[in-house]
């Protein structure tokens, strides 16, 4: 085999999560009661456009989660695998990874960012900007040819994107036509006029916008550093794309860790009350009154020391960094469950008095069953809303924690480590701005998309919004009456 698959801890959990989501989607599809709110999400324009963007991020992250160790060449009989763990994404972006420069270079540059002393042929020394090893290396006369070349490549990329996009649109139209049993032109015209129930047109346009950026970048990246390089000459585009996985892992696995605590403890506290409630309340009040950062910092430092003392546990640097990432998720989860727990406790307090719970108790139904059959399904929407709303917060939290040095392993590329490095670059003269800008831009798009999507989810699942039909009609007009006076 030319490679040896490596399954890191977080990979396993991520794929477990993907499997769980797929299973959930399967049950939701078959149950119209569960499907209804999701159908509402599917009708939300901003939500679905955000989903397209998120999908692009998730695909990158998933590709980056298929890890392996390549086989080393030329070692005779014994099969040896490299010490470096790579991912499917690395294989695809091999050029980006390997074409490193010596040090800083600006986006699309052909020459290094700072002067270097160069020995001329006749022994004199000169200080000038040397050509880059890879960026624009194919150009004879970089000063004259660079911009026309960039323009050409951009156009080529745009053409590629347009072609891809057309294929995508036709595929979608064919799919819709098949689904509604109509001609492909009918489906196309529905699509063009935007009169489909799911906002396909808007989603297609979003996908088009993504492709319009990705296509040119893809072509340009073959011969330039589109977003420049960092201090050790590594491509910034490569780093930002690698950061995506770290962000996604933090955003999802933390929630996965947190949910059991929050759900089990919250529901039990609210349902049983008495000493269980006192205990749970005591625990979460105590936890939430310790500054979170202190707790996280001390926990991270402890695991750090523990891992340093047991180097034999980790075969590769990546495994080590990965375990640290997992610990970070655990710690964030353990410190972060209190908010949701409090919310669920309140909800359980209310639900335990609900007539249908009382009716179940009148039948002598056992507590465990009441908890799982009556309480849990009726708080699932809160759990879901909390999970999607927390995601973006956690991505940001990782950045902050890595910035202050208690986040992920320094060898792991993440938005936080990129920003941390940028600290010194901003102080240089002239300023190196691109690494910070790139990390910021990607993080911003990811968080924005996540927030838009979670808004759509909340609108669809929040029963208060859903029941505005059933609310006493008095409520809203009365508020408007007053609002009018303000």
């Amino acid at each position: 085999m030319p490679f040896k698959p490596v399954i890191l801890w977080t990979d396993a959990l991520i794929f477990l999560l993907v499997a769980a989501i797929a299973a959930l989607a399967w049950t939701v599809r078959r149950d119209e009661h569960l499907r209804a709110p999701w159908a509402k999400v599917a009708r939300s324009r901003s939500g679905m456009c955000a989903l397209v963007v998120l999908t692009a991020f998730v695909v990158t992250g998933l590709l980056d989660s298929l890890h392996y160790r390549p086989r080393l060449e030329g070692t005779g009989g014994a099969v040896n695998y490299g010490a470096e763990v790579r991912s499917a994404f690395d294989a695809l972006a091999d050029g980006l990874r390997t074409r490193t420069e010596r040090t800083y270079s600006a986006p699309l540059a052909t020459h290094a960012f700072s002067r270097e002393s160069i020995e001329r042929a006749h022994g004199t020394q000169a200080r000038e900007y040397p050509r880059l090893r890879h960026g624009g290396a194919h150009l004879e006369d970089p000063h004259g040819e660079r911009w026309p070349d960039v323009g050409r490549k951009t156009l080529a990329g745009a053409g590629l994107a347009l072609a891809l996009w057309t294929v995508l649109a036709m595929l979608l139209a064919a799919l819709l036509a098949m689904r509604h049993r109509e001609g492909i032109d009918g489906a196309l015209s529905d699509l063009v006029h935007g009169c489909t129930e799911v906002p396909w047109r808007a989603m297609l346009l979003t996908a088009g916008a993504l492709l319009a950026v990705a296509g040119p970048v893809w072509v340009l990246a073959g011969s330039y550093h589109v977003l420049g390089t960092d201090k050790v000459g590594q491509d910034i585009l490569y780093q930002t794309l690698k950061s995506i996985r770290t962000g996604l892992v933090i955003g999802t696995l933390t929630t996965l860790v947190m949910l059991p605590f929050a759900v089990i403890l919250g529901l039990m506290a609210g349902y049983f009350r008495g000493w269980i409630d006192d205990l749970v309340q005591y625990v979460y009040t105590t936890l939430s009154s310790i500054p979170g950062v202190l707790l996280i910092a001390s926990a991270v430092l402890l695991t750090q020391v523990w891992m340093d003392n047991r180097p034999e546990l980790f075969e590769t640097v990546s495994e080590r960094a990965d375990v640290r990432l997992l610990f970070l998720c655990l710690i964030l989860g353990i410190t972060g469950w209190t908010g949701l727990c409090r919310l669920l406790r309140g909800e359980a307090l209310k639900l335990r008095e609900a007539d249908y719970v009382q009716a179940a108790r009148a039948f002598g139904v056992r507590d465990a069953r009441i908890l799982t059959r009556h309480l849990l399904p009726n708080v699932m929407h809160i759990v879901l809303i909390a999970a999607v709303m927390d995601f973006s917060g956690l991505v940001l939290a990782e950045a902050v924690l890595s910035y202050i040095g208690v986040g992920v392993d320094p060898s792991m590329i993440s938005f936080g480590t990129m920003i941390n490095n940028a600290r010194l670059e901003l102080a240089r003269e002239p300023m190196v701005w691109w690494s910070l800008a790139a990390a910021f831009l990607f993080m911003f798009v990811l968080v924005l998309a996540a927030n838009l999507f979670s808004d759509a989810v909340r609108d669809a699942f929040d029963p208060r919004m859903r029941s505005s039909w059933a609310l006493p009609a008095a409520l809203r007009p009365a508020q408007r009456l007053r609002a009018g006076s303000a």
Partner: protein
């Protein structure tokens, strides 16, 4: 009719709501006039468009709704064509509105004075002393101790007070028309009678017109001069009060009257019901909207839309029966279902063996405060009450909200473990039973709740809802017998076996209540606690449920503890009645005796406050002073003494023990030796 004194003319008003199913014509071509100083009642079942009509007049519609056509002329000026900023001046200053739910209509973080003064200033009605003006308003709406109340927050006020504050706010700018949308539906009868009296008085004093929206025909009968009946977005009958109550013309109006319990015809008769439900309004109608449910439907009704027809006496009816050339409408036919509901259970036979006997039941809720949750007092929700129910019989438990009725029910079911007293079911004390043993007795006593929307888990199918009790109590020996049993029980409550795969949200309120009844019946109970099972339902649906309960009783020999505040229902359904006040029973006895000759001053006041259809039965309302005291520290002696018109010195000191009157009534009052 557009005489000089006509204040409001509504012409062909049409309001539509955008919904995923298309445009819903919730108000369709509604026209009526209101004269200055007159009370105009708009009646109909829920969802027929009453509230939307009211909101359209003030242009306070929810976002999804819009006014499609029509005119609303206030003093000849079309308010629908005014720009929003002018409309804001009309609202409050010339037309004001009071909503049903007093709790949600006030801003919880502002004091009463803040909210009143805000309204006064908005309409430029505030004079030099806005606080004084606000106080004067509160006094006008009959709030005692207005000076103190001014600086209180809404949560410190009772429901009746909040509604009065709402009325005060609506009156602040002296509007010419007050729209009151179910202003008393959320209130108790004694409070309702006070609020209605207040509205009547204010109207007289100010010559204000009142558009009263309600579903309660008795309230209409006491208040209105003109009546309009709405059905499925349209007005189907418009008549002066006297004519409407003596000879309702439209078949729908006639059926509404027949569905009312306590119409005086006696209890053996089953109530008339209106089959089916209000049609979906998103469809275009080709015929009469009532045709599916009308017992006098003809061929023409299905193909031609009836117009409003003038039938004399200033009455107009939307029905083909009154079209010129038709045979004049006869009296409504007698209910065909009459024979199918059996008469009362044999009275004497089962009387003496008590199925359930409650002795000295006490349920106190501790009030905890502070860091260590120290108990600082108790809410005495139920305080030493005695009850007795025999099988085959119905005991009604009546009283105002907050007096502890529901807590009694929960205490009997052991959903709340009592703090004292005994609950003897067939001689065994449930209150002293350990939980494990209690579980085996659970199947004998079941419960039905008030709100059929809250009592069924929305995430479970009907089958699972009903099977839950069967499984938990192991009613059937084998799992295979479960489904046949569910089918049989659904049939018993008048539902299709095929419906068991659906979720509760697919059913109407009445159907849901049937499901709740089926769930209780599934475990073969002997006693069912019915906690206001019909208060959330419309009259025609209420009639169906009452008929069903009565039928089940005679067929299965069930006993009911029927908790309610609706005296008419008590009269119709119950054999015995117990009246509760502040956690205690003040009077109990047979229904005829207690309702016919109430002995306790509280029962007398309560009964006098019940609005009635029949002017002849209307008595002088005994007004109670003050509000229901808090059950945290109830008054010493007789709990009722601060409000009792007949209180004496002894009442303040000594709690009156039970006294049995010659005809068997038991009364707790010192007036009786």
């Amino acid at each position: 009719m557009s005489g000089l004194d006509t204040l409001l003319q509504v012409r062909e008003l049409r309001t539509v709501i955008e919904s995923p199913l298309g445009a819903v014509r919730a108000v369709d071509s509604v026209s009526f006039d209101i004269r200055a100083g007159e009370t105009f009642a708009l009646v109909g079942e829920s969802g027929c468009g009453k509230s939307l009509t009211a909101l359209s007049l003030l242009r306070l519609l929810p976002d999804a709704a819009r006014i499609d056509a029509g005119q609303v002329l206030l003093d000849g000026e079309d308010v629908l064509s005014l720009p929003e900023w002018r409309m804001r001046e009309v609202r409050g200053a010339r037309m004001a509105i009071v909503f049903q739910e007093p709790g949600t209509s006030l801003n919880p973080v502002l004091t009463v004075a803040d909210q009143l003064i805000e309204v006064l200033q908005r309409h430029g009605a505030a004079n030099g002393d806005p606080l004084g003006h606000a106080r004067a308003l509160l006094e006008q709406v009959g709030i005692p101790d207005a000076q103190r109340r001014l600086h209180e927050y809404p949560f410190q006020l009772s429901g009746g007070m909040k509604q009065r504050v709402m009325i005060a706010m609506a009156l602040a700018a002296a509007p010419a028309l007050l729209v009151a949308d179910e202003p008393t539906t959320a209130l108790d009868v004694t409070i309702q009678s006070q609020v209605l009296e207040l509205l009547r008085r204010l109207q007289l004093e100010r010559g204000m017109a009142l558009l009263l929206i309600t579903h309660d025909l008795a309230v209409v009968s006491e208040m209105a001069q003109q009546v309009a009946v709405m059905y499925a977005g349209q007005i189907v009958e418009l008549a002066p009060r006297a004519r409407f109550f003596s000879a309702p013309a439209h078949p729908y109006s006639q059926r509404l009257f027949a569905a009312l319990p306590g119409g005086g015809e006696g209890r053996g008769r089953p109530l008339a019901t209106i089959p089916g439900s209000v049609p979906a309004l998103a469809q275009p109608f080709r015929g009469c909207r009532f045709a599916e449910r009308c017992d006098r439907v003809r061929d023409v009704c299905r193909v031609r839309v009836p117009e409003l027809i003038d039938v004399g006496d200033a009455t107009r009816v939307r029905c083909h029966l009154y079209a010129p050339g038709q045979v004049p409408a006869a009296q409504p036919p007698t209910d065909a279902a009459a024979a199918s509901v059996p008469a009362d259970a044999p009275a004497g036979a089962a009387r003496d063996e008590a199925l359930l006997e409650v002795q000295g039941l006490r349920v106190h809720f501790p009030i905890r405060r502070g860091l260590f949750k120290r108990v600082v007092g108790h809410v005495r929700a139920v305080d030493e009450i005695d009850l007795r129910i025999a099988s085959h019989r119905t005991l009604a438990l009546v009283g105002e909200s907050g007096c502890g009725k529901s807590t009694v029910g929960r205490g009997i079911l052991q959903l709340l473990r009592p703090d004292g007293g005994r609950v003897l079911f067939q001689g065994e004390d449930l209150a002293a039973m350990p939980t494990g043993q209690l579980r085996t007795r659970r199947r004998h006593i079941q419960i039905i709740f008030q709100d059929p929307y809250a009592s069924l888990n929305p995430r479970m199918r009907v089958r699972d809802l009903i099977a839950e009790g069967i499984d938990a109590l192991e009613v059937v020996a084998e799992q295979t017998q479960c489904d046949p049993r569910i089918d049989a029980i659904l049939a018993q409550v008048g539902l299709d076996a095929g419906m068991k795969w659906r979720y509760p949200h697919e059913f109407s309120g009445g159907q849901r209540q049937r499901i709740a009844i089926a769930r209780a019946l599934a475990v073969d109970p002997r006693l069912i606690v019915c906690d206001e099972p019909t208060s959330a339902l419309d009259v025609s649906v209420q009639a169906q449920i009452l008929n069903l309960l009565k039928e089940l009783q005679s067929r299965l020999g069930l006993a009911y503890l029927f908790i309610t505040h609706n005296i008419a229902v008590v009269e119709y359904l119950a054999h015995d009645v117990a009246v509760m006040y502040l956690g205690r029973i003040v009077e109990r006895g047979r229904v005829e005796d207690v309702l016919g000759g109430p002995a306790h001053p509280y029962t007398q006041a309560l009964l006098s406050a019940v609005p009635t259809l029949d002017p002849a039965r209307r008595t002088q309302i005994i007004r109670l002073q003050g509000e229901l005291p808090s059950p945290v520290n109830p008054p010493a002696g007789c709990h009722f003494h601060p409000r009792c018109p007949a209180a004496s010195e002894r009442c303040r000191i000594e709690y009156p023990q039970a006294r049995t009157l010659p005809d068997g009534q038991v009364v707790h009052c010192h007036l009786y030796p």
